[in-house]
């Protein structure tokens, strides 16, 4: 019984296990680094907001912006913060507050959706578009 208890505590890890973990980790880190280098060459990123599918604002993703977006009927607000490629909804008065809970988005293609206010905030690549500013 004592011997059994001893063998339960000992880990069976072998050299090949550690080698495998190292190879996989190095591969993962290498791929992430390549992604970082590539990101620098990509075209400029924009943060765009759409209300009912219509563009309502556009800022460069590396800007420092804090803006309040009103719903078309002026009954609701979302406070959107853009801070050096980090985008999030800081506060909102929508039920559920899913847009606030979504947290920070940073990458092209990611989006924050506020369903009650029918607002979509998305990071997009490519050229700037003309947005009707009010």
């Amino acid at each position: 019984m004592k011997e059994e208890a001893g063998s339960l505590k000992r880990l069976p890890i072998k050299k090949a296990d550690i080698l495998l973990a190292l190879i996989l980790s190095v591969t993962g880190i290498f791929l992430l680094l390549i992604g970082r280098l590539n990101a620098g060459e990509n075209s400029r990123l924009w943060v765009r907001g759409y209300q009912d599918g219509v563009p309502v604002f556009e800022y460069p993703a590396d800007a420092q912006v804090r803006t309040t977006i009103h719903t078309p009927d002026k009954t609701g607000i979302n406070v959107v913060v853009i801070d050096d490629n980090k985008v999030y909804v800081d506060s909102a008065d929508c039920p559920g507050k899913d847009c606030v809970k979504r947290g920070i988005i940073t990458r092209s293609g990611e989006e924050i959706i506020c369903l009650p206010h029918r607002l979509v905030i998305r990071i997009e690549g490519g050229e700037g578009i003309d947005v009707m500013a009010d």
Partner: protein, 182 residues
């Protein structure tokens, strides 16, 4: 392989256990950002079956589990991801467990990572056609899935290692059973 009633009962019991483990995993909100892709924390049951019953049983139970999960709890639409992931990972885990160089930890890590990479490959057609770029797949999703595969692999190995040590080989167990029954 003997197909006696005890054997069938044991397979059914382990299949139920594998489904429950996968169901519990489903309840944990681990978001890997990809629809239908799971970290595979329930793989510890499959590892145990691989070591204690054999590769054929492990493969059978693993594949049956993905089908039961897809039809009962998630969606048949994600079956292609989970099924291919389960199939490739059990093949790789069987191969590595046959070579004596790896412990259950290496086998489990290889299973976790291959499970995730296979799911990414299966999902890549959908992802590429819905706007993801190939470089996103390779330099963002792939490394995340590699790291989560390693983490899930270590987690599963810890659980499976305990199970394997505490529950003896099947033939020894049958002898014990016979002794107690007579």
């Amino acid at each position: 392989m003997k197909m006696n009633s005890g054997y069938i009962a044991e397979c059914g019991l382990l299949l139920a256990l594998a489904v429950i483990a996968a169901y519990v995993e489903m309840l944990i909100p681990v978001d890997l950002m990809l629809p239908g892709i799971k970290a595979g924390l329930a793989n510890c049951v499959i590892l145990f079956i691989l070591y204690r019953m054999g590769p054929l049983q492990a493969m059978m139970i693993s594949l049956l589990r993905t089908m039961i999960m897809a039809f009962a709890f998630t969606s048949p639409a994600v079956l292609i991801y989970s099924f291919s992931g389960a199939l490739i990972s059990i093949i790789i885990m069987t191969a590595l467990s046959k070579s004596k160089a790896f412990s259950v930890y290496g086998v489990s890590m290889a299973g976790g990572v291959s499970h995730n990479i296979t799911q990414l490959i299966a999902a890549s057609y959908f992802m590429l056609s819905s706007g993801s770029s190939l470089s996103d797949l390779l330099t963002y999703y792939l490394p995340i899935l590699i790291f989560s595969g390693i983490a899930a692999g270590i987690f599963n190995a810890i659980i499976a290692d305990i199970l394997i040590k505490r529950i003896p080989q099947k033939k020894d167990r049958i002898k014990e059973d016979k002794c107690t029954h007579i």
